[in-house]
């Protein structure tokens, strides 16, 4: 995987004040699945994104708790109500202590 931990965000170029827009957030990450042997799960410290926090203008608006049953390179489309021009930040946390961040600037017209 090229450049694991890279975060890509997509927001509309400009949003009308008060309307709801959608953010697409993706992180390059293996999102390991649980291995099975003889019908039983193999014990080890699986590496996957288990928490995603989305903040807009410094306030938490959405939080996600993905499991290993989310596909590799997890991506989420998340709504937000555009009230002011400012930063929309997404932080992905994984089970090995990894923390991957991305920020997009929301332009409110």
């Amino acid at each position: 995987m090229a450049d694991p931990g890279r975060v890509k965000l997509a927001v509309p170029a400009s949003v009308r004040r008060g309307t709801v827009a959608r953010l697409r957030a993706l992180v390059l990450h293996p999102q390991e699945r649980v291995e099975r042997q003889g019908g039983r799960s193999v014990e080890r410290n699986y590496r996957f994104v288990n928490r995603v926090v989305v903040t807009y203008l410094g306030r938490d608006i959405v939080e996600l708790e993905p499991s290993t049953a989310i596909s590799e390179n997890p991506s989420f489309t998340i709504p937000f109500r555009a009230t002011e021009t400012g930063p929309l930040k997404v932080t992905f946390f994984d089970t090995h202590g990894g923390r991957f961040e991305g920020t997009a600037e929301v332009k409110v017209a």
Partner: protein, 161 residues
């Protein structure tokens, strides 16, 4: 047998909590062990664990699930969920759960929302172990729990979690 530690020393360590639980500290960087994952269980047990005895009502009128009827690759099945809600502080969707009935660990993802989201929507890609229903549960701010489902046929299993 070597006598590296006397009986007295062992007792001392035990009282300090070094022996036993103390040797396995739970640090933030080791959350991926099976003990920290949701248990392998049927979906009924997951629903009971999440919502206890709260009644789960039919949410088909309020929950829209967009998914392909046939998923060629169970390793990545797109889903989009929208729950109709005014998303005001008085009345909003608090959480959306996506569960795959045929996965050994049914909960794919939990999303917690605030009214600032403006809409109760989420889209992502799921791993599905087998053909079967994908269920979406919405927990409303007044405590109501609603559920809807979509049947998906999986051609190649995603060996999901």
């Amino acid at each position: 047998m070597s006598r590296g530690l006397t009986r007295r020393a062992w007792l001392g360590l035990a009282t300090l909590g070094v022996v036993g639980a103390g040797v396995r500290p739970r640090i933030a960087a080791a959350q991926g062990h099976l003990a920290n994952l949701a248990p392998e269980e049927p979906i009924a047990a997951t629903l009971r664990r999440l919502f206890a005895d709260r009644p789960i009502k039919d949410g088909a009128a309020l929950i829209a699930i967009e998914m392909p009827l046939i998923a060629e690759d169970g390793g990545s099945v797109p889903i989009a969920v929208e729950v109709k809600s005014p998303m005001t502080p008085e009345s909003h969707v608090k959480a959306i759960y996506i569960l795959a009935e045929k996965n050994p660990r049914p909960l794919n993802v939990k999303m917690s929302l605030t009214p600032a989201a403006g809409q109760a929507f989420v889209a992502t890609n799921l791993r599905l172990a087998d053909s079967g229903p994908v269920r979406v549960v919405a927990e409303m701010s007044d405590g109501t729990v609603l559920m809807a489902a979509r049947e998906v046929r999986v051609t190649v299993a995603g060996c999901a979690a």
